[in-house]
Amino acid sequence: MTIAVEPPKAAFRLSMLIYDTRYRAMTIQVIVLALVLLFVGWLTDNTIQNLAAKDKDINFGFLWARAGYDIDQQLIPYTNDSTHGRALFVGLANTLVVAFFACIFATIIGVIAGVLRLSKNWLVARLMTVYVEVFRNIPLLLWIILSFVVLGETRPAPKDFRVTDEMIAAGESPAATMSFFDSVAITNRGSNIPAPKLTTDLGGFELLGVPFSFAVLGTLALIIGSVLVNNRVLAQAKAVQEATGDRPTTWWKSLLILFAPTLLFLWVLGFHLEYPVLKGFNFQGGISVAHSFTALVIALSIYSATYIAESVRAGILAINRGQTEAAYALGIRPGRTMKLIVLPQALRVIIPPLISQYLNITKNTTLGMAISYLDLKGTLGGITLNQTGRELECMLLMMMIYLTLSLLISSLMNIYNNAVKLKER
C-alpha cells in the first residue's frame, strides 16, 4: 500500500505555466488556439480587403437572379427562367441521386466480392483478387472517362433505330433495335427506359417548389405500412417459435401483406408503362438517362466496391475461426453460419470504413465534371460561377454543402453503427 503524501501547496507563479507539467499542456494549447484564430482573422481580413481592391464584395444576391441556362437532367422542375438558387438545388439533387445509386451498387458488389475473395474455390478467389487489385489501383477519373467513352462510342445513334416504310417494303431491318422486348433503347447518348404512369391523376401539391404527387405519396405510405404489418406478423411467428419450437408458415401471409395492397392501389389508378419511341432526333417518352449519369454510377460503384470488398474481407477475417468451428460443430450449414454467426459480428468491423467509403463516393461525384454531368459542381460550381463571376461565394457555398452532406451521412451511419455494435451489458 502506498501512502499519498500531500505535496506542499505552492503559491501559483506565472513561470509555472511553462515549467510546471500540470499547466504546460494547457498553456501550449491556448497559445496555439490564439495563433490559429489570429491567422484565420488575418486571412479573412486580407480576403475582404483584396476583394474590395478589386471592387468586388461578398454577395449572395445572385442566387435569386435568373439563371438563363438549361440543365439536361432535372429531378426537380427547372427552366432557364428559374433562379441560380434553384439551379443549385437541381445540381444538388443530381449529386445525391448519383451518390445514392453508387453507394447501393458499391455495397452490393463490394460485399459479394469481399466474401468471394475468401472463397475456398481457388478460381473464384483469384478472380476477385484480380478485380480488387486492378480497379483499386487505377485512378477513378480514368474509370469514369472510360465508361463514358465506351458507352458513347459503342452504342448506335438514335437514327440507326429508325424503321422507314421503304425498309419495311424491302424487308430490311434497322441497324439497331431496342433491348428487353422493345422496351429499352440504349443509344450513344443515353438509355431510354419505360416510365411508370398512372391513368387516374390524384393531383398533388407543391412544397418549397418541389411537386409531390398524392399517388406517389400514397404508394410510399402503403409500402411502409405493409412492411410494418409484415414485421408484426414475423414477430408473432418468432414468439410462437420461441414458445413452442414450431415456426408457423408465414411466407404466403408476408407475400400477401407486402404486395397485395400496393398492387391493388396501383391497379385501381391504372398503372401502366410508357415506352420510349423514336421521334425526330431522339427517343421521346419514357425516362431518358444520359450516359454521363450511367457512366458515373458504374465507375463509382465498381471502383468504390473494391475498397468495400477489402473491408468486408477484413471484417470476416477478424472473426475468430473458433466461431465458425463452433457453428459447424452444432451442425449449422456454412451459408447460415456466414449469415447468422460471422456477418453480424463482422459488421462491427466493416461499418466504420464503410462510412468513409460512402463519404468518398459522395465527394467523388464531383469528378462527373469530366464527363459533363451537371451535379452541384456543374451547376453552382460551374455554370453559375462562370456566368456570375462569383467565385468565392460559389466555392464557399459548395464547401458548406458538401460538408453538411458528409456530416449528415456519417451521423446517419453512426446511428446504424451504434445499433449493430456489440452491446456490453
Binding site: N50, G152, N188
Partner: protein, 343 residues
C-alpha cells in the same frame, strides 16, 4: 486543418492578385514578357502547332502587344484557358490580357469587372450539323441534342433561341471544346453550337470538313475582343491602341513587307501622310503618352503585318478556315472595323 489550408491558398491567391492589380504595363516591362490568355486549341485563332509554336488570329494580336511593350513579338507566354477558366485567370492576374474569342457583354464588363478594349472580330452564334442529318435551318432542330461549351455566352443564347422559337432541345454542357467536338463527331450530339468563326475553325480541323454544314441562322451578336482587368486604364489603352495601330496600318496600306520602305519614304518626305508619321514614330513621340517608346507601334505592325494581313494569313479565304472579311472589313470597305484617329 483542411479548411485552414484552403483559406491559406485562397489568401495567397488573393494576395498575389492584389499585387498584380494595377500597373500591368510596368509589370510586363519588368518581366520582359507578356502573358497572354489564349485558347486551348482553336485552329486559326489560337493554337500551338506541331512544333509547339502558337499561331492564330488572336495569337498575332498578343504578339503585336508584346512587340509594342517589350520590343519583341516572341516574348509572349501563352496560357491556354477554357471557356470556364479564362475569366478567373484574368481576374486573378494569372494573365495580363485575355485575347481568346471572348464576347463583350454588359455583365462581363460591369459585373465581372473587366474592360473590353476593342473588337477584333465581329461575330455571331451559329450551328453546325452533319450533312446527313438532313437539316437546313436551325428552326428544324426541335428535339435535338446540342453540344455547347460551358461558361460561354453561347450557352445562354442557345436557351433563348430555343425558347423564343418554341422548340425544345437537350443540352450537353461540355467543359472544353475538344470534348465537345469529340461528342459531336461521335454523334452524341446532333448539333454543335458556338461562334460562327469557332464553327468554321472547328470544321476545318476535322477529318471530313465536307460532311458538315453550318446552318444559315446567326442567332446572336458576338463582338469578340481583347479583355483586361477593370481599373487599369493605362494598360487597357496600350492594348486598344496596339489593335488600332494594326487597323490604321491596313487603312494606310502599310504591310509587313513594305514597312521599312514606308518608314524610309516618310522620313525622307516632309509632306508624307502625318498620321503615318505619328504612328511609326517618325514625327513626335506619341508612344510616350501611353508609357511606351516611339517605335512601339511600328514594331507591333512589323510582327505579323496589319490587321488585314493577320486576318488573311490565319482565317482568311485562302486558309482552310476560309472566313470572308464581312463585318470585319475596314469601314472604308463596308465593314465595321474603324480605328479612332491616331493623333
Amino acid at each position: 486543418m483542411k479548411k485552414s489550408v484552403f483559406l491559406g491558398t485562397l489568401a495567397a491567391t488573393t494576395v498575389l492578385a492584389g499585387a498584380a492589380f494595377a500597373g500591368t504595363l510596368d509589370d510586363v516591362k519588368a518581366r520582359g514578357e507578356l502573358i497572354c490568355g489564349s485558347n486551348v486549341a482553336l485552329t486559326g485563332f489560337g493554337a500551338a502547332d506541331a512544333a509547339g509554336e502558337w499561331k492564330g488570329f488572336d495569337v498575332d494580336l498578343c504578339r503585336a502587344v508584346a512587340a509594342a511593350v517589350v520590343g519583341d513579338g516572341t516574348k509572349v507566354k501563352f496560357v491556354p484557358t477554357t471557356g470556364e477558366t479564362r475569366f478567373t485567370a484574368l481576374a486573378s492576374g494569372e494573365v495580363d490580357v485575355l485575347i481568346r474569342n471572348s464576347t463583350w457583354t454588359y455583365s462581363r464588363d460591369n459585373d465581372l469587372k473587366f474592360d473590353f478594349v476593342a473588337v477584333n472580330y465581329y461575330d455571331g452564334q451559329g450551328f453546325m450539323v452533319k450533312k446527313d442529318l438532313g437539316v437546313s435551318s436551325a428552326k428544324e432542330l426541335d428535339g435535338a441534342t446540342v453540344c455547347i461549351q460551358t461558361g460561354t455566352t453561347t450557352e445562354l443564347n442557345l436557351a433563348d433561341f430555343f425558347k423564343s422559337n418554341n422548340i425544345s432541345y437537350t443540352p450537353v454542357t461540355v467543359g472544353d471544346d475538344t470534348e465537345a467536338q469529340r461528342q459531336y463527331e461521335t454523334g452524341a450530339c446532333d448539333a454543335f453550337t458556338t461562334d460562327a468563326s469557332g464553327l468554321a475553325s472547328t470544321r476545318a480541323a476535322m477529318a471530313d470538313p465536307g460532311n458538315h454544314i453550318i446552318l444559315p441562322e446567326i442567332i446572336s451578336k458576338e463582338p469578340l475582343g481583347p479583355v483586361v482587368r477593370h481599373g487599369d486604364n493605362n494598360w487597357g489603352d496600350v492594348v486598344r491602341w496596339t489593335f488600332n495601330a494594326l487597323l490604321i496600318a491596313e487603312e494606310k496600306g502599310i504591310t509587313k513587307a513594305n514597312l521599312e520602305e514606308v518608314v524610309a519614304a516618310a522620313t525622307a518626305d516632309a509632306a508624307y501622310d502625318p498620321e503615318v508619321k505619328r504612328l511609326l514614330g517618325i514625327d513626335g513621340d506619341m508612344g510616350a503618352m501611353a508609357g511606351l517608346d516611339k517605335e512601339a507601334f511600328k514594331r507591333a505592325i512589323a510582327v505579323s503585318g496589319n490587321y488585314g494581313e493577320i486576318f488573311e494569313a490565319n482565317i482568311g479565304a485562302s486558309t482552310p478556315i476560309g472566313l470572308a472579311r464581312g463585318l470585319n472589313a475596314l469601314w472604308t470597305q463596308g465593314g465595321l472595323q474603324y480605328a479612332a484617329p491616331f493623333r
